[in-house]
Every structure is written in C-alpha cells, then in structure tokens.
Symmetry: C2
Subunit: 178 residues, 2 copies
C-alpha cells in the first residue's frame, strides 16, 4: 500500500540532499559523464527540473480533470538540454529547490484522499496508471537519479582507485538500460 | 591522475547530503532492507561511521609510518552492527558529520605531497596499494554507498509504482555483488 506522506517526505528532501552533495563540487565530479550520449550529474539535475515543469504535476492535473479520458501530454526526455544551457550548478539547484517546493505546496493543497489516489490516468506508452502510482513514481524517480549520478560520479574514479575497484559494486553498474 | 582536492571536496559533502536526505524520513524508507542479511539506509550510515573509525585514517597512518612493511589492520565489514544498536538516525548522522570533519581536518593537516601520495601500503587481500588509491577509494566508497542506499530505498516502492517500474533502472539493480 502506498502512503502519500511517506512519498512527500522523500520528495521534500531530495533537492536539499542534491544541493548539499553537488553545489560546490568541482566540475571533475559534476560536468563529466560516462561517454557519448550519457548524462553528467549536471544533466541529471537539469532533467529533474524539467520533470518538475513538464512531467509530474501536469500529469496529476490531467488525471484530476479528465481521468483516463485524456492521455498525459507527451514528455521530452531530452527537454532539459535547452533549459540548462549556460547555467551553473548552483543556479540549477536553486531552481530545483524552488520548483519542488511550489509543486509540493500545490500537491498538499489538493488534500488527496485514498479514493482520489485510486483514480486512473492514461499513460501514452504504459496504458492505465493510477494517481497513486504516478506519485509513488515521482519519489522512486528521485532515487533512480540519485542512483544514476552516484554511478556517473564514481565512474570518474575507476582508474584512481586502483585494485580497490573490485570492492566497489558501483563500478560494475551498467545503468540497467536507464 | 588522482587530484586530492577533488577527493576532499566530495568527502566533505557526503555527510551533509546524507543528513539532508535521511534525517527526518520515516522508518519506511530508512529502516528497511532488501531481505535477509542485506542493509538498510540506517545500516549504511552505521557502516560509514565504522569506516571513519576503523578503516580510512588508520590505514593512512599505517602507510605513513610503515609503508608496506606492515599490513593494514583487519577491518570488520559487520563492525557497525554493535555500534548502531539503540541509536536513532539523527544520532548516527550527527556522529558521521563530526567524525568526517575530524578526519578531514587531520588529513589536511598532513599536507600530503604527490611524493607522499605515491607511497605504498599493504592491503591484507589486495596486496600493494598506494596512499593515493586509498584516498580515492574513500570518496568512491561514499558514492558506492549512496548508490546502494538509493537502490535499497527504491526497492521499497517496487509495488507502489505499478507499471512505471519498467522505466526505473534502479529497480533492476542487483547490487553487483556488493
């Protein structure tokens, strides 16, 4: 059973956690990726911002207004590329902190009941999903990207750690197709 | 080439990042694991504390005093179990923040040069490792455990996310033997 307060607690913490981890780190940690067409920690934060704008709350609103009669608006997985251009990591983090706070305030204001959480929406690829599943995924998606950026950052040290590499599971993570 | 300042920047940030992520989260996120003999986020923080005591700086000191003439003291991977008993997450986080700050102050005080970073130590299982590799591993080990705890936490939502599960790579992570 999905508990909304548990989800909200994590969603409230993620921006501050990323801020504490990333704000003042050298680019050697945050602006490097795992190779062509992969994401850096900087890109990940940009993607999270883009999702605050275009993914989670717009989908919540579609479910509340139309149920599954109207599919979710399309989401561009590379929509962050333009949005982060020319920005610094501190600017992105400030933006994420602000957008998330606004979205959670809106979400709390909806006072969602169990009955409303069971409402269905239409995902363009996955088919029917519930509002509860959408909100649980918002939190799991934060964790998915913390998982990703810790891997991308660790990758930068794959040579520096020498023989210790074999003890570091993160160095063997193949990204699971994500 | 391993840059010590880059390593120190990450080591300085990890405790605050974990604090922001975990301090006030419900136990449903932090005290649950992936099954028998696996670790919760709480256990991971306990392990990081144990490493601050028994792993990194003791090994640094052995290298500086004895080079690879004396092997590193043994490290108990389950040594945290007793250390966390009866403690709360906020207590563990306070402890980690304090120990890490003390250890980094000691490390900075050593004013390690490139020549000293090249010194060798004797790992009981891995054989010869350099001081540079040991310190790079300290940082990568933080990332390894952020990777782990994001996976363990996401695992708790494997049912709640419904069909979205297939988009969440973290749900397919098998821990890479770690």
């Amino acid at each position: 059973m999905h508990d909304l307060e548990t989800t909200l607690a994590l969603l409230a913490n993620t921006p501050a956690a990323l801020n504490a981890l990333l704000r003042d780190l050298p680019d050697a940690w945050t602006r490097v990726n795992e190779g062509e067409k992969t994401w850096s920690a900087f890109d990940v934060v940009g993607h999270l911002i883009h999702c605050e704008h275009d993914d989670w709350m717009p989908r919540v609103r579609v479910i509340l207004e139309h149920g599954n009669a109207v599919p979710f608006p399309p989401f561009d997985r590379f929509g962050h590329v333009k949005a982060v251009e020319g920005k610094s990591m501190p600017e992105l983090l400030d933006e994420l902190i602000q957008l998330r706070a606004e979205n959670l305030a809106e979400l709390r204001g909806l006072r969602l009941t169990e009955a409303v959480l069971a409402r269905r929406g239409q995902h363009p690829a996955l088919g029917v999903v519930t509002l509860s599943e959408l909100l649980a995924t918002w939190a799991a998606h934060d964790l998915n990207h913390i998982h990703q950026l810790s891997r991308v950052m660790a990758h930068q040290y794959r040579e520096a750690v020498g023989p210790f590499r074999q003890y570091l599971g993160v160095m063997r993570c193949d990204a699971h197709g994500a």
